[in-house]
Amino acid sequence: MNHSSAQNTLKKYPLLTYIAKRLVSGLIAIWFIATATFFGMHMIPGDPLSSEKQVSPQIRKNLEARYGLDKPLLTQYGIFLKNIIKGDFGISFTQENRKVNDIIREHFPISALLGLLALFFASLGGIGLGALAAFHKNQLSDHLIMIMVILVVSVPGFVFAALSQLGIMKVNDLLHSNFPIAGFDGITYLIVPAIVLGLGTLAYITRLMRSSLLDIESADYIRTAKAKGLSNGQIFVKHKLRNALLPVVTVLGPAIAGITTGGLVVEMVFAIPGLGKYFVEAVQQLDYTVIMGTTVFYGGFLVITVILVDIFYGWVDPRIQVVK
């Protein structure tokens, strides 16, 4: 009785059902990420204590007990899962008395800011360039933009990062100016890194924007708009641009994932103290808890972002049915 009424309520709210379903599968995905991370980490030969300087067996035992390394693997796994549910990622192995939660709390906002800026540059630039290319279809500017897009996709991000650093250096030399080359002390330090980080996504959005604008060209409503006597500019802004933007929204999910992981390199090259740089350093130093914490955190972040973006599509474009 109760069960069927619950089902009826769910049927009344298909969107809620959909969100609930997605959240459940998202939770399973996060669990899978956590498990893969845990067992991946424990496959590593040696343990975090083996790199320390020679210690007596007694001290080693104490250390193992402190970090729970003396317990059986499955028990450790259980503790690990329990702590994750509590939102506690443990204490860093290499940095004295530093909680992984604190590391994430301090450094993730910088990465997030960098990512948001990159996303902003990428969407703005991509939409603009894509529209420009479509507007001047088969003219010089279109060809130039498309060549640029192909080139950008073929050059590794770290090369752009390094070359842009060199570029800033030369500009500073030339103008006796003082643009920041590396480090982080305010948002100005993130502008060039964000542009570099967003380049790949920018190229992708440009391509998508151009092709979706060209697809729309022959749509009925464009013909209607022309028949009504609207000017080219009006048609472009009011009818073409708005409709062409929709497919671009669908890229946001993968774009956020790409920008998040691409941040690793950019943060390293520009010495930005974001979470990505920390992750790479933690891997180099085999800091178990930091690696596991950041991976699970990033994984969870991505899973949730993708779900949110999916729900967002449905809201932006009612024609897309997120609910089946």
Binding site: A29, F32, T37, G40, V155, G157, F158, A162, T294, T295
Partner: protein, 469 residues
Amino acid sequence: MSYDRELPAIDKTEFLPYSGRKQDPIQRPSANYWQQAFRKLKANFPALISLFIIIGLLLFTLIGDKIWRVDPYAQDLTQISSPPSFNKKALVIPDKIHYQPVYLSNLEDYTVKTSSTGMSIIGTPTTQFIAFKWQPVAGAKGYQIFRHEYLPHGIDDLGVPLGTNDSGDHVSYLDALRLEPIDYFYSVIPIFEEGQLNQYSTIKITAANAIALGDAVGLGIIPKHQKMHYLGKVINLPAHPLGTDYLGRDMLARLIEGGKTSLFIGLVAPLIFVFLGLLYGGISGFLGGKADEIMMRFVDFIIALPFLLFMILFKVAFGIGPGESGIFPMLVALILLSWPSVARLIRGQVLQLKEMPYIESSKLMGAGVFHLTLKHMLPNVTGLLLVTFTFAIPSAIFTEAFLSFIGMGVVPPTPSWGSLCNDGIQTLLTHPHELIFPALFISITVLAFNLLGDGLRDAFDVKTKGERP
């Protein structure tokens, strides 16, 4: 209802084949799937060029070291980070530097070339060492020496502080710090009891490229038995068409060697994971139903893993033993994380194919699983497979480059294009060629494979079949 109406008489000849003027054939010569695809590919200029570039790159890495026989591991510390050059010359000088510090007491012992600033060069300035001296300043208790690559603007802009002479009558300096065959501007500031005054003098010294006799013999540039013959002469140094790296290793040889690593990972990993994906996706799609759902759920989870983070994690987890290059762990990690997306693609295609009428009729005629797979399924996913494979190569090369760049890839001294980039970024500001060449190779390779992939996708896309190329 009777057929009482007479049929018109029809002559027998009306039924003979038409023997008049031959009509133009309405159809093009029939071409099968592969021939059509190939014809379209040939018409695609960028894709065709890319194909040739890829063949060229493969030849470059495979037989390049047979032609350019320079050891990619041989270090030449006399030519560190030297820019691309073919005919670099060097002066052969003795191994031992005959130099004694100049004090006021023995000032006259040296032949001096006096400059307007009162500073003068001692001996021949070379890239091995540059020695100079200056007029003593009355009352100075010491001197500080600076080096710059440009004419200093003022006392705040004298360049690299090289050292300090602690005695007022020690009026010479020997510089042997990473010298290159360029112009240097040396400046000397006298230091007094009360500190330094706004007073300095500068001399411009051009360093000649030089090589010590012992080094020249050690590198095999000049024969050992008549080495004294070469002393003081100018010899040709080994050519480095793409320059050398920070240990004086030949960049061209290292790019050839690094290409082997990069292309090996870029080709082998996709080959294996596309095959695994085909197997898994094929089985999943073929079975359908509950089994398909479970198999695909597993695929979904692996795809949800943050790719690069897990690449790094697995790469570390598989460990690197001593003396290993780190290629194998990277290969395994790449395969483990990449097959699911191929599986998903193949499964979708197989699900579509399963509904095709020709599969149905083949089944009705009693075809077994083996026959269906081999005769119908496989040929119909080949195009998709080829396109997937082509696009998988650049992303594998990118991944390798990325990992090697952050120091998680191949282990030194094994070069790969990514690790060469990593080395190059350290010297980017002074010697950009060390980053630019490997980056160029990565970019050209990735570009070529991407364009070829685009071409293949267009060529194999059945939707465009009706259109003329």
